[in-house]
């Protein structure tokens, strides 16, 4: 236990029922105070939720507990011992495991390699791959996960990557599990499954700290909830004593987003259409099989489905990122032979599934990121019009409430939700004709979610067509004019949001109907 020896006083703290105690933690980054005097107490073998608006400092606090950041002041005690983790390996040795908000996986390594990395079972330095495989398989079955251990990560969908991350932590035998927005891309059934499994772990003595913006889920599964606002703790409450509204109020001091009835009408002209669209797969199975649909002017068509049922490939095919068979039409003209750029010119915009992988240049400044795809409008001759580009970025920051010191900082300093707002803003700012939006509010807090929904509705009323892919059923039900359910690469059902419920959707999504 190298962690303990680092700086541990042998004094057992008074309330040893608390497995984790963070006291008066402060942490500032250049220009921002991420945590100011935060305290957090987590009881052993419980599920403890942390909620708070985007940029409130949740991830930062958890990274401090995991040894990735060093606090400016304050103390951490784990298991009653005051410690100081200088690196993640010390935290891991002390039994802390963390699943990060943005996946920390090596794309070209296999699932198995990613899971065992850093804690490899070996015999005199040689990997015991057989043993490792057996152990991982055991853990996977114990929490009901099925996954091919020999695939490279690059071939997995977001949901499966999430599972790999969780397996990774469990493989290290973590006693304290930190999950930073583990459910952001999972549909309710998967969330239920995940939490049933996590409950099993809690029963064996594991403690779970998890961060989420989905308040229903927080209320349903947690034993205690800590609310953070602008870097300090507001309160720790029991789920019984609050409801969504109250939580939201404590978080952002504003009302819950609501889905008002739409007063405008869906237009008549078809703006986006796909006929018999098929994306050929590597094996005999096609990720997208014979999909046909159209989206009219001013219409929002929601696509619901468990991650990995072809939504990703469908979006890529519409955009031209992968080859497909069948036809794709924009405003009546066949675009299936056109390049991506030409399709974008015809008015297509895309909010990608994974903001960090497909949406942002993390090392580049915000204004450069918001410039992407709009270089033509924001340049003078061959030169980029710096003033105009920065101006347009400032507009996005203001309109979408991106919390940031200015538009010059690199994208990685933004909190996850604020990165998402920037990506959404970039795509809505230019008033596209057709928006393909994948998880547009992934990781965005309830307050900002309302704002993004409002923006999408406003653009819709102005005639924009939207294809909305989302794991958030409330979002799909609340925004869409029509819902398509994708299962196994095909459209399994078309539903009317007025009569559909999450339960009905869930049945189609899992193919039980």
């Amino acid at each position: 236990m190298q962690a303990g020896s680092a700086k541990s006083s042998q004094t057992l703290s008074a309330e040893s029922a608390n497995i984790v105690e963070l006291k008066n933690i402060s942490k500032s980054f250049p220009g921002v105070i991420a945590n100011r005097d935060i305290s957090l107490q987590v009881a052993r073998a419980t599920i403890h939720a942390i909620v708070g608006e985007n940029g409130a400092g949740k991830s930062t606090l958890m990274k401090i507990l995991y040894g990735l950041h060093q606090p400016d002041s304050g103390t951490i005690s784990v298991n009653g011992y005051v410690t100081q983790f200088k690196s993640p390996s010390e935290a891991i040795a002390a039994g802390v495991g963390m699943v990060h908000q943005h996946f920390m996986l090596a794309d070209n390594l296999t699932v198995l390699e990613n899971i065992i990395l850093g804690s490899e079972p070996t015999k005199i330095g040689v990997l015991s791959l057989g043993d490792a495989r057996k152990q991982v398989k055991e853990i996977a079955t114990s929490i009901g996960v099925e996954i091919d251990l020999d695939l490279p990560i690059s071939e997995l969908g977001v949901g499966q990557r999430q599972r790999v991350e969780i397996l990774k932590v469990l493989f290290r035998g973590a006693e304290i599990l930190v999950l930073d927005e583990p459910t952001a891309v999972l549909v309710p059934q998967e969330v239920d499954e995940l939490f049933t499994n996590l409950r099993k772990l809690v029963a064996t003595g594991t403690t779970i700290i998890f961060i989420s913006h989905k308040l229903d889920e927080v209320l349903a599964v947690s034993d205690e909830i800590t609310v953070i606002r602008q870097g300090s703790t507001v309160a720790t409450v029991l789920p019984k004593s609050v409801d969504r509204l109250k939580l939201a109020e404590m978080m952002v001091g504003s009302d819950l987003p609501s889905h008002g009835k739409r007063t405008t009408k869906v237009g008549a002209t078809i703006q986006l259409a796909a006929h018999n669209l098929t994306v050929l797969g590597k094996d005999n199975k096609n990720p997208v099989q014979n999909v046909s649909f159209n989206v009219a002017e001013g219409e929002i068509v929601g696509i619901a489905g468990v991650d990995g049922n072809g939504q990703f490939e469908l979006c890529e095919a519409l955009l031209g990122l992968v080859a497909s068979q069948g036809t794709i039409e924009i405003s009546g003209t066949d675009v299936s032979k056109l390049s991506i750029r030409e399709r974008l010119k015809k008015g297509l915009a895309y909010i990608p599934f994974d903001r960090q992988r497909e949406g942002l240049m993390l090392g580049a400044s915000l204004w450069e990121n918001s410039l992407l795809g709009h270089e033509q409008q924001l340049s003078r001759g061959p030169m980029i019009d710096l003033a105009a580009a920065k101006n347009s970025c400032r507009e996005i920051i203001e309109r979408f409430g991106v919390t940031t010191p200015n538009e010059l900082v690199p994208a990685f300093v933004l909190s996850g939700g604020n990165q998402q707002k920037l990506v959404v803003g970039r795509n809505l700012a230019t008033a596209p004709k057709i928006l393909i939006a994948a998880h547009p509010t992934r990781g965005i807090d309830v307050g900002a979610q309302a704002a993004v929904w409002e923006e999408i509705r406003r653009s819709r009323d102005a005639g924009m067509s939207v294809l909305l892919v989302s794991a958030d059923l409330e979002e799909v039900l609340g925004l869409s004019d029509r819902i398509l359910v994708m299962f196994d690469g095909e459209i399994a059902a078309e539903l009317d949001p007025k009569s559909a419920t999450p339960q009905i959707l869930g049945k189609y999504m899992t193919g039980t109907r």
Binding site: H100, M104, L105, D107, L109, E113, L117, E120
Partner: protein
């Protein structure tokens, strides 16, 4: 974990290639195409390229580009030759490795410790090596018999060479064993004769340095894919952020990776000045460090691929040395192979591949009919052309280490 079908496909491929080259040999009467002397020379020329390629592989696998391989090889040639001149070839080889590691260490300190741009650091190492050893020569070699500013005195000892017993007539405890493959080669039958020539070339007149170099391939594969050290080293080239979040010390691994890379490059240089010749000469590396990098790309950053690529370059260079008039026969070989690719491409309906195969066929057929002597510059560029063609048509996706070349600062927010 090679499956059975993979094995049989490999066998079919080998037999097919043999059949084609054998037909070409019989057709043109150029026996040198598959003679044991050509293959032996090719093998000797393969060794430094192979080691340079493996040096590149180790560096990029741990996440650092290594443009400085050429310079590390120069260190290897100089220190190797000095050691061999002073105290024999084995000491020379060890010093060659150490010399290369010195280059690797400089590269590591520059890129990992001080975050200097990896390409710039590599280029600087090349320059430093070139002028550095010239300065050393001035100090050590000038005035010695046979030595000078651009050349070392010749070495007195050479590394022992041997033939494999029974297969190629090697001696076992004084007993002169039969030369089975040699007999196969001399009959010159279709396929059998070529098989004999090629295998005899690979098993006779071997230097221990060659054996060591070839052993580097499986050893590296084993280290990188079967040991904890290897997995961690690859992870720091694929996703240093993920590795760090699991408590892995990325920068330490990059130091190790670059030391190994430098050592291999140094050994590559050593084989040039100790095995392939018996003295150090300025410009001895002749761009082989860069050819090595090409084989690394050709080989998709895998040891077996690097070996294949290096053999291709080695063969092209070998045939140029041993039998330069056989080169025109190679055009016929390329034409025949492109016909095979053409058929495959038609079967698989890959349009670009059909056109490329057709184009290569026409070009090589025309070249075969019209060209008698191939200009030096063309033969020298042949390996590069082959690499470009193969890279352009490779149907397997290239998988370079994802974060090779991207600086990593531990402990910084990401």
């Amino acid at each position: 974990m090679i499956t059975k079908s993979k094995n049989s496909r490999l066998l079919m491929f080998v037999v097919g290639a043999l059949a084609v080259i054998s037909s070409v040999r019989l057709w043109t009467g150029q026996d040198a195409l598959t003679s044991s002397s050509t293959i032996g020379t090719a093998l000797r020329l393969t060794v430094p390229i192979l080691l340079a390629g493996m040096a590149g592989l180790w560096a990029e696998r741990c996440g650092v580009l290594n443009i400085g391989i050429e310079g590390m090889m120069i260190f290897g040639t100089w220190f190797g030759a000095w050691g061999a001149w002073q105290s024999g070839p084995w000491v020379g080889l060890v010093l060659a490795i150490l010399g290369g590691m010195l280059g690797g260490l400089i590269h590591a300190v520059a890129t990992v410790r001080f975050n200097i741009d990896q390409v710039i650091s590599g280029v600087v190492i090349n320059l430093l090596a070139f002028f550095g050893v010239r300065y050393l020569s001035d100090l050590v070699y000038v005035g010695k018999p046979g030595g000078g500013i651009s050349q070392s005195p010749p070495q007195k000892w050479a590394l022992p060479r041997f033939n494999l017993p029974i297969l190629s007539g090697g001696e076992v405890a004084g007993w002169k064993s039969p030369d089975v493959l040699g007999r196969l080669e001399t009959n010159r039958w279709f396929i059998i004769g070529d098989f004999g020539g090629i295998t005899r070339g690979l098993t006779s007149d071997l230097s221990w340095a060659t054996v060591i170099a070839i052993a580097v391939v499986p050893l590296s594969a084993w280290l990188l894919w079967r040991t904890r050290f290897g997995l961690r080293l690859r992870s720091s080239g694929e996703s240093p952020v993920a590795a760090e979040s699991l408590g892995i010390k990325v920068n330490h691994l990059r130091y190790y990776g670059l030391l190994i890379s430098g050592g291999l490059a140094g050994l590559a240089g050593g084989t040039l000045s100790i095995v392939a010749s018996s003295y150090y000469r300025q410009g001895q590396t002749a761009g082989r460090g860069f050819i090595g990098l090409a084989t690394m790309i050709f080989g998709n950053w895998r040891p077996s691929g690097v070996l294949t690529g290096a053999m291709l370059f080695g063969y092209a260079e070998g045939i140029k040395l041993v039998a330069s008039d056989s080169i025109t026969a190679l055009f016929l070989f390329i034409a025949a192979v492109s016909v095979m690719f053409f058929v495959l491409a038609v079967l698989r309906r890959k349009r670009t591949q059909i056109f490329v195969a057709l184009g290569v066929f026409v070009l090589s057929a025309v070249a075969y009919r019209t060209i008698d002597t191939v200009p030096e510059s063309l033969t020298q560029s042949l390996p590069y052309v082959v690499t470009i063609v193969v890279l352009a048509t490779a149907n397997q996706r290239l998988r370079p280490p994802a974060m090779a070349g991207v600086p990593f600062r531990p402990g910084e927010p990401h």
